[in-house]
């Protein structure tokens, strides 16, 4: 795709998105902008001033301060890129694994489908958080572990989705034409089927990002996510229960950032879903 094509498609996407989806897109853009300027907040986010501990929101500290006197606004801003990036990469991992498993099952059918569909079913039988906790706690703590743990527990949903889409597309004329022209199977899957099932997969991925951000926050909140100094929103929130009686702001603001982000991605996904079912874009 040339930049011109991408620009045209982006314009088409904007036009077909419902109002709520456009608003969500603006919020998502804003969050990535905050990520871009977040290094400015990193010094204030880590500056410990015990004499200022547990200060309620004020002009100097709009979100208040935490148990070590760090400015909560700075901490929430500094955590933004981490939460967004982990959510995005985990969703991509999930989508890639899901697409590979789902498209192979859907394209070949028969025994491959039977085996892979059982595999999807097996993983779906486990409570997601059970698997997530086991992976996150038993593997060495690092951002990569968190990303892998989330990606490896959520792919079955994407796989089911990809399977259904590939199943619909595998006997269409363009696929048969590619096959008749002698294209190899990986080529058919990646060059012909993938672009055509991309729109619905994108919807699934946008919901996936929202879910992955929540999952990372939940893991860090429970204390088995990222190792201590790297505070994501969930990590900041994990200190809140201990001070819930005297410092409500420690719970309110990091959670608000999380809620805003998750609802923006969900709303964007919902908008994309509507736009793609109306068959006007991609």
């Amino acid at each position: 795709m040339t930049p011109g094509v991408i620009a045209t498609r982006a314009g088409g996407l904007w036009r077909t998105l419902p109002g709520s989806g456009r608003a969500a897109l603006v919020v998502v853009a804003f969050l990535w902008l905050v990520s871009a300027i977040s290094p400015l907040a990193s010094r204030a986010a880590s500056e410990i001033r015990l004499e200022d501990r547990l200060q309620p929101p004020s002009a100097a500290h709009p979100f208040g301060t935490d148990d070590l006197g760090r400015d909560l606004l700075a901490r929430v801003v500094a955590a933004t890129p981490l939460s967004l990036a982990i959510g995005l990469t985990a969703a991509v991992v999930s989508l890639v694994v899901g697409f590979v498993v789902g498209s192979v099952a859907g394209y070949f059918g028969g025994a491959a489908d039977l085996v892979l569909s059982r595999l999807v079913e097996v993983v779906l039988c486990f409570p997601v958080l059970f698997l997530l906790l086991a992976l996150a706690a038993f593997l060495p703590p690092s951002p990569a572990t968190v990303i892998l743990a989330i990606g490896l527990t959520t792919w079955p949903g994407d796989a089911r989705f990809a399977r259904a889409e590939v199943l619909k597309a595998r006997d269409l004329d363009y696929t048969r034409a590619a096959r008749a022209a002698g294209a190899s199977t990986p080529r058919i899957l990646l060059r012909h089927l993938l672009p055509n099932v991309l729109a619905p997969l994108l919807v699934s991925a946008a919901f996936g990002v929202a879910w992955a951000i929540l999952a990372e926050a939940a893991l860090s909140f429970l204390g088995v996510g990222l190792p201590a100094p790297a505070g994501s929103w969930g990590g900041i929130l994990s200190a809140a229960p201990a001070y819930i009686e005297e410092a409500w702001w420690m719970a309110l603001f990091p959670g608000l950032a999380l809620f805003l982000t998750v609802s923006a991605y969900n709303l964007l996904a919902e908008g994309l879903r509507r736009a793609s079912t109306e068959k006007t874009f991609a």
Partner: protein, 324 residues
């Protein structure tokens, strides 16, 4: 019907095998050998526990033999002893189970009790005022992280207003009888609310979508033409048709409930299965972790099978074998 059900059982058998293999692999994913359980963060396993582990899992034997032996034990529901208190794993699971059942049973009843009428009403008039308002509200609730909501509810109802207890199952000073029941209900209120609101959107939207689709169908229009009221046509005809997808997703309700329980039971100090699982993860109590994972997954498989049976009973076409 028999054919349909036997096909379901045949498909469930390899899934069951897969679940057992995955749990077995999970054990070997644990850092180092499960007996040495190395690493800074892990709890040191006592000599006795290590022996127990060796005996239970036969770690000196080759892998296939080990798997066979483990399978034999698991089939007899022998999950060994907990590393933490050396009591049988099954005993600890049995103790925690009623708490989780109470919490999630109430939450599920409440969820369906709100989601079904709301979904039918919203689906009866798509894009109507109720549909739009409930849609926006459910969407916000769907994106609300449960652990955050739990903290805010605690801050508001337990600390600021002092209406409800902060956490726990029952007060130390709880009187017996009716006022004791009130005390228990007060303890249940916040965790049940947190478990309910998130799944509400999912079920309400599902019911809404099926009802909205069915209300234009011939059989509903025919019911209206025969003189049934709008209400009767919606509940007796459109909603009954919407029951089918609801039954299917209810078969898969268990993993979500257990997942939600891990977080909520931790915040509200509720001694159920989710809390047991989380504590066991932190203390590297592998026998408990494996038993809960296995039991949870098998229970889910069983529930999906029950859902298939219910589906067949509810849909005559499946019962007669006209469709799969």
């Amino acid at each position: 019907m028999i054919r349909y059900l036997s096909r379901r059982v045949l498909l469930a058998a390899p899934t069951l095998l897969g679940i057992v293999i995955l749990v077995f692999l999970l054990l070997h994913l644990a850092p180092g050998s499960p007996v040495t359980a190395g690493g800074e963060s892990s709890r040191r396993v006592s000599q006795r526990a290590a022996e127990e582990m060796r005996r239970t899992y036969g770690l000196d034997r080759p892998l296939p033999e080990r798997f066979g032996k483990w399978l034999g034990r698991v089939a007899r529901l022998d999950f060994g002893e907990s590393f933490v208190d050396h009591r049988p794993v099954l005993e600890r699971v049995r103790e925690a189970f009623p708490y989780t059942l109470e919490l999630n049973g109430l939450a599920l009843l409440l969820t369906l009790g709100i989601a079904i009428p709301l979904g039918v009403a919203a689906g009866g008039r798509p894009e109507g005022p109720l549909d739009r308002a409930s849609g926006a509200m459910l969407f916000a609730l769907y994106s609300l992280p449960s652990f955050w909501a739990a903290l805010l509810l605690q801050a508001l109802f337990s600390i600021r207003l002092r209406w409800l207890p902060l956490y726990g199952v029952v007060s130390d000073s709880a009187p017996p009888g009716w006022s004791g029941l009130a005390d228990r209900l007060a303890h249940l209120a916040l965790p049940v609310a947190c478990l309910t609101y998130g799944s509400l959107a999912f079920y309400a939207r599902l019911v809404r979508a099926s009802v909205a689709e069915a209300r234009q169908a011939d059989f509903v229009l025919a019911a209206r033409a025969r003189g049934l009221s709008r209400r009767q046509a919606l509940w007796k005809h459109a909603f009954r048709n919407a029951l089918l997808p609801l039954i299917t997703v209810l078969g898969l309700v268990l993993p979500g409930l257990l997942s939600g329980s891990v977080i909520i039971e931790r915040i509200f100090a509720w001694p159920g299965l989710g809390r047991l699982y989380f504590d066991s993860i932190l203390s590297r109590d592998y026998p408990v972790v494996l038993a809960l994972s296995l039991l949870g997954a098998i229970a889910t498989l069983f529930f999906t099978f029950l859902a298939d049976v219910a589906y067949a009973l509810a849909d005559p076409r499946v019962r007669d074998g006209t469709i799969e």
